[in-house]
């Protein structure tokens, strides 16, 4: 049955390659994308969550001459599978209207599905790596479609670095264990294992955009097509964390790490890097004017939280990390799609050039608003539960450095959230002639918002989904009911919040309903008694360089960050490369001398 899903996907891949019509391709890929989703929903049986029952088998072995690829489902893979594959259909629905012709988006989305499925199901490192690189390739081709040089160069360099490091790590593990099967690899607390794990984690961290390995993200996110970026940011970036979790917790051999993790500097380092990522990326996002780059930095920041959770390593932290991953998948995909809708109608990306879009695109705005609430972890979305678990975990472990950093990054999220809300959607109505986004796009966005609402009311269901992973990783499960989460430090009761909110809303609602109000024109605004309509153009949109006072204070400290380190490194490499090039000076006499010198040297060396 697993073979069937793969086969369907691959056939669809080849088929959609030759379809030019966007709508047909969209529908085909939409239908096809339901297969893996159905498979994963079905596999929920294994982990005590009966959603649908079809009876997919859950193991598969492929024999290729001399090499066997092993596939089977694990609780962690199941969680990520549900997350990623429920993300895809809405995105494909959105693309139904977004693109005008099929020029390679759909086939490579399907290819990415294949690779994700392969990564999640693989139970040995060879197949994991094969599909990992297939994913990297798929992403690269997607980036190629828009052909931005910076994005392509950065992505490919990072991706290859990540691939080679992972490959080296795998090779080292193989060398020590003599096997590639997850089930048989034993991790020990010796130096070589640490080297292997470090290499693997750095490789994974590149995909997960942890600082300082994040510099490929902003150019890539800001130049590719939005539906793809939604999937890249929402879905594929989590695969890096899947790798880390697999390595540190899910592999049976990783149990040996437990004792190690409790006192480990290494994982504490991961948590610190995660929190600093969240912190600095938040600041970078605050000052960014390009909407897509802002969202890119925001992605980096939000992904940093997951690293904190993994680095902290307690069961609360793990639950928080997974919850955060899930939330981030959906709200960031929604935000990218909303940004795409806005650009679809206005053609603008700069926040300072946008404004007042919400009045004409209320549905897009509502989806984006809800996603932003989730992003800012306002307790009326599921975004809060995840962050709350992470904060609890940090306090539980007494991570006095990480907890405040995370909290401040959370506050910083308000700053850039408001920048999106005000700069793009509110304020001066600059685009009075646009229409609401097409229906499939709106439907796609609202479908993506749904899980955020469901898990707002029932965060316990989310914890149910992780329970089998937590217990398989040897961590305690968190005591919870569908709507209450208990930790050793405190409780979070969503029903109390919701009911309390309903009661609290009564007076506000009464005031709102009982007193009449009338709508006034946008221009009817008090600006020192001045009358905007008397002038030809008077900009009332204060979105340009919005946080200037803060920027003046903070920016001097943010300069000289990762990008400048890399650019100086790049310059050094360039210089060396120029030196290497100068060896080939084009003078044939020199070349002849090289030959003779070589002869002399090796002859001398051999004789000596």
């Amino acid at each position: 049955m697993v073979e069937m899903v793969f086969a369907v996907l691959i056939i669809a891949f080849i088929f959609t390659l030759f379809i030019k019509n966007n709508r047909v391709a969209s529908i085909i890929s939409l239908v096809v994308s339901l297969f893996p989703l159905a498979a994963f929903l079905d596999w929920g049986r294994e982990f005590g969550i009966n959603l649908i029952s079809i009876g997919f088998e859950n193991t598969m072995n492929i024999n290729m001459a001399g090499i066997t690829l092993h596939f089977s489902i694990s609780p962690l893979a199941w969680f990520f599978g549900i997350m990623l594959f429920s993300l895809i259909p809405p995105i494909l629905l959105y693309s139904y209207s977004f693109f005008s012709k099929n020029d390679g988006f759909y086939p490579f989305m399907i290819l990415l599905m294949v690779s994700v499925m392969g990564i999640l199901l693989s139970s040995d490192f060879l197949s994991f790596f094969l599909f990992w690189e297939l994913m990297a390739l798929g992403i690269f081709i997607m980036i190629c479609r828009n052909g931005d040089r910076k994005a392509m160069v950065r992505y490919l360099s990072y991706s290859v670095l990540s691939g080679v490091l992972i490959l080296a790590g795998i090779a080292l593990l193989y060398h020590m264990n003599g096997t590639l099967l997850f089930a048989e690899i034993m991790l020990k607390a010796d130096f070589e294992t640490m080297v292997a794990i470090t290499m693997l984690i750095i490789g994974f961290a590149i995909k997960a955009a942890l600082m300082p390995l994040h510099t490929w993200v902003p150019p890539v996110y800001s130049t590719s097509d939005e539906p793809f970026v939604a999937f890249l940011s929402g879905g594929l970036s989590k695969i890096g964390y899947y790798g880390m979790l697999l390595l540190l917790f899910a592999m049976p051999g990783a149990r040996v790490m437990e004792a190690y993790i409790n006192s480990s500097i290494a994982t504490y380092l991961l948590a610190i890097i995660g929190s600093l990522t969240a912190f600095f990326a938040t600041f970078l996002a605050i000052f960014e004017d390009d909407l897509r780059k802002l969202l890119a930095y925001s992605s980096i920041a939000q992904l940093g939280y997951i690293a904190v959770g993994i680095g902290t390593g307690s069961s609360i932290a793990m639950a928080g990390a997974l919850f955060q991953a899930f939330n981030h998948a959906f709200f960031k995909a929604t935000l990218f799609l909303a940004a795409g809708s806005v650009a679809y109608r206005t053609g603008k990306w700069k926040i300072s050039e946008l404004g007042g879009v919400a009045y004409k695109m209320p549905l897009t705005f509502m989806a984006a608003l809800f996603a932003i609430f989730a992003l800012a972890a306002i307790p009326i979305t599921s975004g809060f539960a995840a962050k709350w678990l992470l904060y609890e975990a940090a306090i539980e472990r007494r991570y006095v450095f990480i907890a405040p950093i995370m909290l401040i990054a959370g506050v910083g999220a308000f700053l850039y959230s408001f920048r999106i809300l005000y700069g793009v959607f509110l304020g001066e109505n600059r685009y009075p002639d646009i229409k609401e986004a097409p229906k499939p796009m709106v439907a796609g966005m609202f479908l993506l918002v749904m899980p955020l609402i469901i898990f707002l009311i029932f965060p316990g269901y989310m914890l149910d989904m992780m329970d089998s992973f937590l217990s398989s990783a040897g961590l305690a499960t968190i005591s919870h009911s569908p709507y209450v989460i208990h930790t050793t430090l405190g409780n979070y009761n969503t029903i109390a919040v919701i009911v309390g909110m309903m009661f609290a809303m009564i007076p506000a609602f009464l005031i709102y309903v009982l007193r009449k109000q009338h709508l006034v024109d946008f221009e009817d605004n008090f600006i020192g008694g001045e009358i905007p309509s008397l002038y030809e153009h008077i900009s009332m949109h204060a979105a340009h360089n919005f946080y200037k006072p803060l920027k003046d204070v903070v920016m001097p400290y943010l300069e000289g960050g990762a990008t400048s380190i890399y650019s100086s490194l790049y310059k050094v490499v360039e210089k060396i490369a120029d030196g290497a090039r100068k060896i080939y000076d084009g003078v044939v006499q020199d070349y002849a001398i090289y030959v003779m010198l070589f002869l002399l040297i090796i002859a001398g060396w051999l004789l000596w």
Binding site: S157, V164, L167
Partner: protein
């Protein structure tokens, strides 16, 4: 069915010299190359099932011409002929002289691979080199002539050195049969050491190893796309295979160390030189140098790990096919059609070492091998060079993907076929099996 490996060399040679008498040069050449390819495949099938093939012409060894075909040689013969055939399809206007030179180059490259006699190898090298000089100069513009002259100067030096090396060897062993010499090889006198040095230098020029590869950028830059492609999968691959045999003959730890250090230098300098290069063909040439370094590294591990041989094959074959495709594509500014885009991306990915392309397996096994040897510097060099490679290839793709210049079928499909070969080799890694059975490179 008895297959005569000598036909692989004899037929193209014969027709090459008959070419002036024939009218339809293109058709004839295509038929010959196709025939040769089929023959090579049959031969490979035969060798694969029945074991290595010997053929002795005129006299018995150690005096006569001696051909020896094992799995690996047969496979290389298939590779060279097949790629030559596909490559030839992309040539639009074929003149008689061109066809003649082309056939000579192919025949001699095949000869280098399947010969079992070191002097024959020298002869084939000479033929390959001479025909290559002419082919490089084919465009007859300034660049082409410059490249050809540089190639010729270095090639002449190389052939002299090679001859001297062979003379030393002959004076020591009184034999030119590689197999024979290999069996009798021991610690080695001064003469043998010197002969190794001379042979390595001589063959190294053809095999593009540092620092003997001064001709490479200029020759590749000057040559037309199909010629550059031929150079990259023909003579140079034959050359590196000859070095493999050389290492088999002189299988001392010293020579492996030498190969390793030269290989790492070739890798790093080639990739770094490509990093800043703006001219596409020159960049690809430097990249070839880097890949040669990688192949040399895999050769240097032959003695220590079983993975080396597999890595060697994957690297050799994938590099031949993908670099061939890229050189063909380099004729035009941009890709221009979907087939070309496909060819370009697949080839680049194979060179960078991404699955499911064939190049990936090369990198996988070379790293596996290096891990087994616990040779960290090899891994460090590979990591660094991969990233550099990725950077300049991404740059390459970003410019070529955007240019919209329509590609004719004849220009678009041959590289796409080569790319498909790379892809298929990666998806169906049967070479793995072949290589593990073939085991060792024999004399």
């Amino acid at each position: 069915m008895v297959i005569h490996p000598v036909l692989l060399i004899a037929i193209p040679l014969l027709f090459a010299f008959l070419m002036p008498l024939l009218k339809r040069a293109k058709a004839v050449t295509i038929i010959i190359l196709l025939f040769n390819t089929l023959l090579a495949i049959l031969m490979f099938h035969n060798v694969y099932n029945n074991g290595p093939l010997y053929e002795i012409i005129a006299f018995s060894p150690p005096i006569g011409i001696y051909l020896y075909v094992d799995n690996i040689a047969a496979l290389l013969a298939v590779m060279i002929n097949l790629l030559a055939f596909i490559n030839f399809l992309s040539v639009e206007k074929v003149e008689i002289k061109f066809a003649m030179l082309y056939l000579l180059a192919v025949a001699s490259s095949t000869g280098i691979v399947i010969t079992g006699d070191i002097f024959n190898m020298f002869v084939f090298f000479e033929i390959a080199a001479v025909s290559s000089y002419a082919l490089v100069a084919w465009k007859r513009d300034k660049e082409a002539l410059e490249g050809a002259i540089k190639y010729m100067v270095l090639g002449s030096i190389a052939s002299v050195l090679m001859l001297v090396g062979i003379a030393f060897l002959y004076s020591e062993f009184r034999s030119l049969n590689i197999y024979d010499i290999m069996n009798r090889m021991d610690e080695g006198s001064v003469l043998i050491l010197l002969s190794f040095a001379f042979l390595l230098t001589g063959i190294g020029v053809e095999a593009e190893i540092f620092p003997l590869n001064g001709w490479v950028p200029d020759a590749y830059q000057g040559a037309a796309g199909s010629i550059a492609s031929l150079l990259s999968f023909g003579p140079s691959k034959a050359g590196i295979y000859a070095i493999a045999r050389l290492l088999m003959i002189f299988s001392w730890q010293q020579s492996y160390d030498l190969a390793l250090s030269v290989g790492i230098m070739t890798l790093l300098i080639g990739e770094l030189a490509a990093f800043r290069q703006e001219n596409v063909k020159r960049m690809l040439a430097y990249s070839s140098i880097g890949q040669m370094g990688l192949i040399l590294i895999s050769l240097s591990m032959l003695d220590s790990t079983d993975y080396a041989i597999i890595a060697f094959f994957f690297l050799l074959v994938s590099h031949a096919a993908s670099k061939g495709a890229l050189f063909l594509l380099s004729e035009r500014k941009g890709f221009g059609s979907n087939a070309s885009k496909y060819a370009g991306i697949v080839s680049v990915m194979s060179l960078i070492g991404m699955p499911p392309m064939a190049g990936f397996w090369g990198k996988w096994y070379i790293i596996m091998g290096a891990m087994q040897m616990e040779a960290w510097w090899i891994i460090a060099a590979i990591v660094f060079s991969s990233v550099v490679e990725a950077a300049y290839f991404a740059r390459y793709l970003s410019t070529t993907m955007q240019e919209e210049e329509h590609a004719s079928i004849i220009a678009a499909y041959p590289p796409a076929i080569m790319a498909t070969l790379t892809l298929l080799l990666g998806i169906l890694p049967f070479i793995y099996k072949i290589a593990t059975i073939g085991g060792v490179i024999n004399g």
